[in-house]
Amino acid sequence: MDNRKLFVSSHAPYWHNGSSIAIKSYNIMLAALPAVILGIYQYGMPALGVVTFSISCAMIWELIMNFIMRRPVSIGDGNAAVIGLMLAMLLPAATPWWVVLIGTFLAIVVGKQIFGGIGCNPLNPALVAIAMIFLSWKGILDFNEALLNYELGFPMTYPLATLKYLGVEAVSEYGAGALLMGCHTGGIGSTFGLGLILGGVYLILRGLIRWEIAISFLAGVFITALLFNMANPDAYAGPVFHLLTGYTLIGAFFLATEDSSSPVNFVPMLLYGALAGLLTVLIRNIGAMVDGVVFAILMLNLANPLLDKIRPRAIGKEMENA
C-alpha cells in the first residue's frame, strides 16, 4: 500500500448555496410562531398541549415508520415536526388528545409515509388529516361547539359559520382590525392574521416558499369574493372578510405552498393558487361547508401533476411535428 494522500472526489459543482431541508423546516416553524404564540396566549394550556402533543406525535409516527420501512431516521429534517405544527395550528384548542394522536397518524403515515416519505406525498399531509377528521367526527372541527366554554372578550362564534347561517348582516361586527389581531375564533394558529402575514412575508423574502402560490391564492380569494360581493352585497361578504377569516391566511402561506404537493413552474403556480382561491370562496359562498380552504387546496393538490405539465419549452428543444 503506498502512502499516497487520498482526496475527496465527486462530480461538479463543488459549491453549494447552503440551503437544506432542515433549514427550511425550522424557518417555517419560526415563521409560524407568532400565530401559534397568540393562540396559546388566548386559549392557555389546552392550546399548548395540542401544539406540543401534535408535534411530538408527528415525530414519533415518523420515527416508527422509519423503523418499519427500514429507512434512515428522518426526523432530523424537521418535516415531520412542521406537519405536526401545521395540524395543531388548524385544530381548535379544545381538541381531545386522541384526535391529535389519530390526526398525526393520518398526516404522517397516511398522508406522507405510505407514499414514500418526504417529497413523495401527492397531497398536503396536514390537510389530509384535517379532512379525514372533519369527515369522521362531527363537532371536532365545529369551532362554535369546540370552543363553547371559552370567553375571551370577543364574539365566541366562528365568523364563517355566522356568515353561512346568519348572513352578511351578522358578520358586520367583525372589523378588519380585530380579525387581523386574532380577535375571532378558529384554529389555534390560524386566527392571528397579522402574525401569519408577517410569517408568510418572512418566508417569501427568504425564498423558502414560492411567492407565486401564496400571492395568487390570496388574489384568487380576493377577486372571487369581490365578484360575489359586487353581484349581491346582501348575500355575500366582502373580500377582506374572506381574506382574514377561516384558514385563508394559513392556507396561503403555509398549506398551499407545501413543496411536494404544489407545482414549480411559473404559470402552473399561478393557476394552482388562483384556482384554489376561487374554489375556496365557491365552497364558502355556495357550497355546503363553512370553510373551503381544506378541500380547495386538496383538490388542487390532485390537479398539480397535470397543471405542472404547462411549462416553458426547454431552449434547444426542437418542435415536434405532430
Binding site: R4, K5, L6, F7, V8, S9, S10, H11, A12, P13, Y14, W15, H16, N17, G18, S19, S20, I21, K24, P72, D77, G116, G117, I118, G119, C120, I204, L205, R206, G207, R210, W211, D259, S260, S262, V264, N265, R311, P312, R313, A314, I315, G316, K317, E318
Partner: protein, 429 residues
C-alpha cells in the same frame, strides 16, 4: 463559496471573478520541474502500438504521432527522456496515454515546428497547433464538419473564480490581433467575434476584432449561452455549436497562435488560476506537463488527506485523485478545497422545492428529470424531459435543497445514452 443571501428569492446570481479582484496582480512563474507528464487523448491506445518507447530522447516542440492507427499527435513541451508510458482513463470514459519525461537541463528545440507554421498550409500546421495552450482541438476549426461561418474568441472564463482568459485579454491584447489574423488565414476567413466582460472592452478593442460584451454573471460564458445571447442562435438539443457553423477558441489560444508564428516556436507555458483554500486566486505561468504537486508546493498551498483537488473552477471543474496529474493545455484553473470547506451531497429524495427550475438557464424541468435519472430511465429523460438540452452549468446541483448530485446524474444520463447509441450503431452496422 457563495451562499444564498439571507433574503433572496428568485434566481441565484453568481458573478464571475473580475480581473481586478486578484490579490497578487503579478503572474508568478513556476520553475520547470525535474519530471513532466504529457497527456494525449487517444481512443483505445494500446501501449504496445505506440510509436515511441521508454528511453527515447525527446525535444521541446517535437510533434509525435501516437500510433499508426490513430490521428492523435502531441507536442512535447520539454526536452528529456521518456521514462514511462501508460494508459489512463478520464472523465466520461475518455482514454489517454500518459507519457512521463525526465526533463534534461538544457532545452533543445525541434525545428519541424517552425517549418510547419511558415508554410501557412493548415494541413501541415494543424497537428502542431493542437498542443498550444488554450487550444484543445484545432482540427475542429481547420476541418469542421459544417463550414465555419463564425469563430468566437472567448475572452471570458468558463467558470467562477477563474481569471485566466481575462488575464490574457488584459495583458496580451496586442497579441490577439496577429493571432486572429492567422486564425482567419488557416480556417478559411470566417467572421471573428471577441467576447469579453464589459470592463475589458477597451483592452479587447485593441485586437481589431469585432468585440461583444456579455454580463459577467454565471453561466453567460458557456458556449451555448454565448450563442443565444451574442449570436442570437439556439443550439438544438443534442448537438453542439459546430453544427451551426460556429467555432470556439479561447483568448489564450489565439495569443498562443501569435507567439507560435512570430517566434516560430510553440509556446510551452500556460496561464493558470490557482485557487487556494481561502478561495483567493492567483495567476501563475507554468510549463504544460508540470505536475500539480510541483505547482502547489511552489505556491506553498498545503494539500492534505481528505481535501479536494479540482482541475477547473467550482461549478464545472473535475475533482482528481492524484496530485501527479499534470497541467494540461486546457487546464485553466487548479482549485484546492480544505476538508472543512467541502459541499457534500446527501441521499434525500427530491422535495420538489423548485429551486432548480428557477436556476436552470435553459428551462429544463429538472425536478422531473432527476426522478427519471435516479431510476435509470435515460431514454425517456431525453425524450420527454429535455436531458439533451442541458448546457452543463451545474446550477441545479448548486441550489438543490436536498443536496442531490443532479449535475452528476445528468452527465451519467448523457453518457449512458451515448453508450446506447454506440451499441445501436454497431448492431445496425
Amino acid at each position: 463559496m457563495i451562499k444564498k443571501p439571507f433574503f433572496g428569492f428568485g434566481k441565484p446570481r453568481l458573478d464571475y471573478a473580475g480581473i481586478e479582484g486578484l490579490e497578487q496582480g503579478e503572474v508568478k512563474d513556476i520553475p520547470l520541474p525535474g519530471q513532466a507528464v504529457l497527456f494525449v487523448e487517444a481512443p483505445h491506445p494500446t501501449v504496445s502500438d505506440v510509436l515511441f518507447q521508454v528511453g527515447d530522447e525527446i525535444k521541446t516542440g517535437q510533434n509525435l504521432k501516437v500510433s499508426p492507427f490513430s490521428k492523435a499527435t502531441f507536442t512535447s513541451t520539454v526536452t528529456g527522456t521518456i521514462t514511462d508510458i501508460s494508459k489512463k482513463t478520464g472523465y466520461l470514459g475518455k482514454t489517454f496515454l500518459s507519457v512521463s519525461i525526465d526533463v534534461s537541463e538544457t532545452d533543445q528545440w525541434d525545428d519541424a515546428f517552425s517549418l510547419a507554421v511558415q508554410t501557412s498550409e493548415p494541413e501541415k500546421a494543424g497537428p502542431y497547433l493542437n498542443g498550444l495552450p488554450g487550444i484543445s482541438d484545432m482540427d475542429a476549426l481547420i476541418h469542421p464538419e459544417t463550414p465555419l461561418k463564425t469563430i468566437v474568441v472567448n475572452g471570458m472564463d468558463k467558470d467562477l473564480l477563474v481569471t485566466t482568459q481575462q488575464m490574457v485579454i488584459k495583458s496580451q491584447a496586442d497579441d490577439l490581433k496577429e493571432g486572429i489574423d492567422y486564425l482567419k488565414k488557416i480556417t478559411g476567413n470566417p467572421k471573428v467575434i471577441l467576447v469579453v466582460p464589459p470592463y475589458l472592452s477597451t483592452e479587447a478593442a485593441k485586437s481589431g476584432a469585432q468585440v461583444q460584451t456579455i454580463t459577467p454573471a454565471y453561466p453567460n460564458s458557456l458556449p451555448e449561452m454565448i450563442m443565444k445571447n451574442v449570436l442570437n442562435q439556439i443550439v438544438p438539443a443534442g448537438t453542439d455549436c459546430s453544427s451551426l457553423g460556429v467555432g470556439f477558441i479561447n483568448a489564450e489560444g489565439v495569443a498562443a497562435l501569435k507567439s507560435a508564428i512570430t517566434e516560430r516556436k510553440p509556446p510551452v507555458t500556460k496561464m493558470v488560476t490557482v485557487i487556494g483554500k481561502n478561495e483567493k486566486a492567483q495567476m501563475i505561468r507554468v510549463c504544460m506537463g508540470t505536475p500539480i504537486k510541483a505547482v502547489l508546493s511552489t505556491l506553498d498551498i498545503p494539500l492534505e488527506q481528505g481535501d479536494r483537488l479540482v482541475v477547473g473552477g467550482p461549478m464545472t471543474g473535475r475533482s482528481i485523485y492524484t496530485e501527479d496529474m499534470p497541467v494540461l493545455q486546457d487546464t485553466d484553473a487548479i482549485m484546492v478545497q480544505g476538508k472543512d470547506q467541502l459541499a457534500l451531497n446527501a441521499d434525500d429524495p427530491c422535495v420538489n422545492c423548485g429551486e432548480c427550475i428557477r436556476a436552470c438557464p435553459v428551462n429544463i424541468p429538472v425536478n422531473m428529470l432527476v426522478r427519471l435519472l435516479e431510476n435509470s430511465h435515460y431514454e425517456e429523460a431525453a425524450k420527454d424531459y429535455d436531458l439533451l438540452s442541458c448546457i452543463e452549468c451545474g446550477l441545479c446541483s448548486y441550489v438543490c435543497e436536498a443536496k442531490i448530485p443532479v449535475f452528476h446524474y445528468i452527465m451519467l444520463g448523457k453518457y449512458e445514452l451515448s453508450l446506447m447509441e454506440k451499441a445501436e450503431e454497431s448492431v445496425n452496422g
